[in-house]
């Protein structure tokens, strides 16, 4: 099916360059005019609350509710941070929004900043997005020049500055409190919560952190209203459009903006053009590396927060990775475990020690040195990590092993018993990629 594009409308318009002029031509920056005129900040918060917009960064927390947690004392400095750290394996939607339609994000940020009373906002962009950073710098300069940013924006009483802050290579800085630490010039180590950033955030001040896609939704909600927004997607709990990044063994990998709630089957087979070489699907990760693997029996599940949770995974970042029948599940899990072991910040003991422990065991199994009792030990280690760490990274890193063990335990056993892979390993592609 074809759907009306919202976030992708501009960038799929032929000739659209993402410049300020193009954005304005498409009706851009009308939302802030409208908001400044029609809504007091608290009304804007209320509007977003009523829209039911949920975070697109991973946890799916309702945006308006998060904003509402900020203390009401107007004397307090507040900050807005845009999470553009996009590092979740399988996810590349924010990058496209940044590179191709930066003003949509900036307008969204202005709306959010206005709503929460932040005079300063930061975009934390991962260091690898060198091009994206250039695009954003240029767009910010344009917006400043045009009076959308700076002192008394659009001649209102509101001051808003947006600064770009580039990371330097650390997945964990996508975790919101690690992101704050990183902006403060420190190692990106997550903080213990509570206190939450809404109370004690950047520089100890009330702070809101939102994902690029979440923020990019705001101009449309303001322009088209709550009713429109709650009528699309999978209301009441998962309204709106969602960009899914589809990758792996599909014919047309890429970003697809679709209403929340379409089935995985439709997403993979219709949008992404089906599986490479017409093979059978073996596994799907529905929401980035932190989400549990699903089997092809889940293909008819609806892609919304609740439905995916019901089948034991999560919608997460919207990164959908498809694996065909010839994929070795042990090496797929190992691949992601290596990712996590490389990216753990190392702050808390279960995650720091556990991740490499798991990697070592998985490597042994993959290389034919496994023991049957390893499998229970893997589960035990995972359970000793899950729920006991500073941040959600700990829960994320155990998802690949636990879910592959759950669905494909026999593959693990085969590795251990036969000291080789059950499936014809696509030319050895998935064999462990060594230490790096």
């Amino acid at each position: 099916m074809k759907y009306e594009k919202v976030l992708h409308k501009n960038l799929e318009t032929p000739g659209y360059t993402g410049s300020l002029a193009d954005y304005e031509r498409q009706g851009g920056y009308q939302a802030i005019r409208k908001a400044l005129k029609e809504y007091a900040p608290t009304q804007l918060i209320d509007l977003v609350k009523r829209s039911g917009l949920r975070g697109r960064g991973g946890a799916g927390f309702p945006a308006g509710t998060k904003w509402d947690f900020l203390p009401k004392d107007p004397a307090l400095t507040r900050y807005l941070c845009c999470n553009a750290d996009e590092s979740e394996p399988g996810t590349f939607k924010d990058r496209e929004l940044i590179e191709r339609d930066p003003h949509q994000l900036i307008e969204g940020m202005i709306l959010a900043a206005y709503a929460i009373g932040a005079k300063v906002a930061y975009i934390y962009i991962r260091g690898e997005f060198v091009y994206g950073a250039q695009v954003l710098e240029r767009a910010l300069a344009e917006a400043n020049r045009a009076g959308y940013l700076g002192k008394k924006i659009l001649k209102s009483g509101t001051d808003i500055e947006i600064y770009l802050h580039r990371g330097a290579g650390a997945y964990i800085c996508g975790e919101e409190t690690a992101l704050l630490e990183s902006i403060e010039g420190k190692r990106g180590l997550p903080r213990n919560k509570p206190p939450f950033p809404a109370i004690h955030g950047l520089y100890g001040k009330p702070t809101v952190i939102n994902n690029v896609e979440t923020l990019s939704n705001l101009p449309h909600i303001v322009n088209r209203g709550v009713e429109w927004f709650t009528s699309i997607g999978s209301p009441p709990k998962s309204p709106g459009m969602r960009i899914f990044s589809v990758s792996g063994h599909v014919n047309r990998p890429g970003n697809y903006e679709v209403p929340m709630g379409i089935t995985l089957r439709e997403l993979i087979h219709e949008q992404a053009g089906g599986v490479l070489g017409n093979k059978k699907i073996k596994a799907i990760i529905p929401g980035g590396a932190s989400a549990a693997f699903l089997t092809e029996s889940s293909l008819d599940v609806k892609m919304d927060f609740e439905s995916i949770a019901q089948v034991g995974s999560m919608l997460g970042s919207g990164g959908v990775t498809v694996m065909d029948e010839d994929t070795c599940m042990v090496s797929a899990a190992l691949n992601l475990m290596e990712f996590f072991a490389h990216e753990t910040c190392g702050k808390c003991s279960p995650c720091r020690e556990g991740s490499s422990w798991l990697v070592q065991m998985m490597r042994r199994i993959e290389h034919g040195h496994g023991r049957m009792e390893d499998l229970d030990q893997l589960v035990r280690i995972c359970n000793n990590i899950g729920g006991k760490t500073v941040c959600a990274f700990g829960d994320a890193e155990i998802a690949p092993i636990l879910s592959t063990l759950k669905h494909w335990r026999s593959e693990y056993e085969y590795h251990i018993k036969e000291k080789k892979c059950l499936v014809g390993n696509r030319g050895g592609q998935l064999l462990t990629i060594g230490k790096h």
Partner: protein, 913 residues
Amino acid sequence: MADTDTVKLKTETVKLTIDGREVEVPKGTLVIEAARKLGIEIPFFCYHQKLKSDGNCRMCLVAVEKMPKLQVSCSVPVSEGMVVHANTTVVQEARKGVLDFLLANHPLDCPICDEGGRCPLQDYSQKYTAYGQFKEEKRIYEKEFFSPLIEKEMNRCIQCMRCVRYCDEVIDSKALSSVNRGYHIEIGHYGEKQLECEFCGGCVQICPVGALLNRLPLYEYRPWMLTRTETTCAYCADGCSLRLESRPQTREVIEVTSFWGNETKTVWGKGRNEGDLCAKGYFGYQFVNSPNRLTKPLVRKDGRRDGPLVEASWEEALERVAEEFGRIKGLHGGEAFGALASARCTNENLYVFQKFIRLVLGSPNVDSSVRYGMVNAARALTELTGTPRWLPSYEDITQADLVFVIGTDITHSNPIVGLKVKAAAKKGAKLIVGSPLRPRISTLSHIVNLATRHLAHRPGAERIVVIGMVKAVLEQGKAAAGLAEHPSIARLRETVSKLSQKQIESATGLSYDAIRAAAEEWTAASRAVIVFGESIVRARDGYETVRILGDLALLTGKLTAEGCGLAPLYEENNEMGAYEMGVVPDRLPGLGRLDHEPDRERVQRAWKEPIPTGPGLTMIEMLAAAREGRIRALYLMGENPVGTLPASAGAAEALESAEFVVSQDLFLTETGEKADVVLPAASFAEQNGTFTNQEGRVQPVRKAIEPIHGTRPDWEILSQIAVEMGHPLEYQDGAEVSHEIARLWPACRPGGPGWREIPGRSEPAVAAERYRAERLTEGISERYRIDSGEKVPASSNGRFHLAMGPLLFHSGKMSLQADGLMKIQNRPFLYMAPEDAERFGVGEGQSVRLRSARGPGSVEVAVKIDAKYPPGMVFFPESFNEPPVKDLLTVELDKASHVPVFKTAEVVIEKIT
């Protein structure tokens, strides 16, 4: 008004339940602390009361009802009605799981680990039966040479980051880093370098496992083999509590610890130092077992003055002393004796010393190292407030809303009070620092860096800065309520109004606006303390400058108000004690004045003997008298004037002129070398007694080991000589001395009454009022003068302001005998600004020639570049006599206090070609 205040002060409390028991604790208390209050032990590694919670080890997990996951009790504050389960099976299993992770990569090398036996990782592993499930390859860190004093064994590290956090948050040294990410994290400094830092030892002490260790006693012991003695540090007057860990059998002090309850490291912060130490405290105690310790008395061969010093028996030496003393007393009377003591001795030894001099020798001429400057402050403070003791406490500094630090490089001179100032600054107090030093970045903390207002005055201009502040306060019409109308204050206003802003600006090098702004902040503060040190106390016009500081405080109602007042810093541990024990010619034990009949009477009654009338001679007068033959015998207990005073003071000549000199010391000093009899004394580690810190707290000194073979405690030596001389001054032990002192003066008892309870002393506020009415205008024009032309030499003509002073790693000459401190720094440098070094074309470690601008003589000295010194100023650490920089200095006597002023000089620096 008063009512609302008390309401505000009453802390809100919260009730919660832990393991079924209810407890009420102040709001904000952490769950782990609330549990401790109930006696419920929650295991932990990364938590520490001194540090911000980090919650990284995850050992302290508990279940909290209504919270989704297990929570780290070290980071979760209590809330009303909270229900905590600290010991369910789930919780226990979770902790066991955490231990499994921590043990995974731990080398389990407990048999060769110095921490073994006092290691929580050991204890908890046993308690939670975590026996290690890990069967993979362990992470191995290469062994590194971290520093000569600190061993780094990263394989044992549990990455709790307490060391790094302590270095950042408490010490402000920021010398440690956590290097790398994730699995590969380790503790480091930067780059490939060895650790350079303040060497406070805090990281070693705070490390829960054996990852950071003190190298000095490495592999020497198991913790349970050591005997632990709680005592008081013998270096500076901050008065830190520490523990000597010793092996009594061999009379060895093995190491120092301070954090109480080291075994599980669960209880923190005993003592005025709250567990913190500096390099001297932590690494400075090998002097006790130094091979250079004197262990046999020395006497001149055949009693000839020009004969060499040879070893003698105690009997022989004591007999000799008694005989000579007796002879001289018989021929020339008590006045022929001069006596100097070191303020590093215990109160008991000092007490017996002055009593011996006054009664047995019959001499009024007794003085001590407090004469180097402490008396300036003691005198002024006594006049201002009726007591030489501080009115503010260390806690008042921490809780102040403004601290004014002037005349001290506090990290170096008094590191622990420095920590209190840092703590205040971090809590948001204003910090005005008057100092010629510049801010600079290094891994030694620097108080100027934390200043919220830095008055970067010319070296030596402290007095004028304070005068400027007094003037500004009065101009702003901001004298405290009711004071402005007093005639004495009017006189003061009139006096300072005659001083022009220009004069002040040119003398201080500061803009008057800056001074005025500082004065405004000072006036506006409500809890404010002035912390000042050697550059006032030991400097020219020291006594007057302290009085001016007193005027400033008085004027603004902050001299005696709660939480306010003056806080002079002293270098030697027991300067306050020496003063209070009457080891100065004009004071008796208990601070009575020698020239005050009732005071004399009281002491005479206790001693049952008359005390020679004074006034006796002060140190410099004594030395002069010896040179002139009026004094014929000198008794030096721990005091080393030859090694301390510049050659021009003529101490050596004085000793040579005297007929008989006794030096009683731990070491053979420059002074000892000129003595006729040298008596080996026991150190503070070898006897019981008390020290009184600068604040005025009397603290216990406890015997850790028997006196090193051949040495004796000072009091014992003194009483033996007395007995020999037929004038019994007998004590069975040190405790007996302590009792006598306490009877005479209850304020000198550990935990005894402070100034408030001192009998016969008036309340400070009453004393201050009397001072204002009667003494404030005394000498006012002299005190508030600005000498024209009192300018500091500009470096452009090769002239420099040389300052001599303490260094963090050294104090006096004692530290030069401490192996650990010598490992940090074993030679002196002339510290200078990079700009100056560049001008002379000298690099680090290269030498320049230093010449006095006034007198003869020159020395060559190696340079260290340090950007904190402003161009035109150089610094030399006073502990080092080689090269003899001190001998370039001249001595000036403070007219009021007889303090020999010699710590600064105008010098010329030349390139060596």
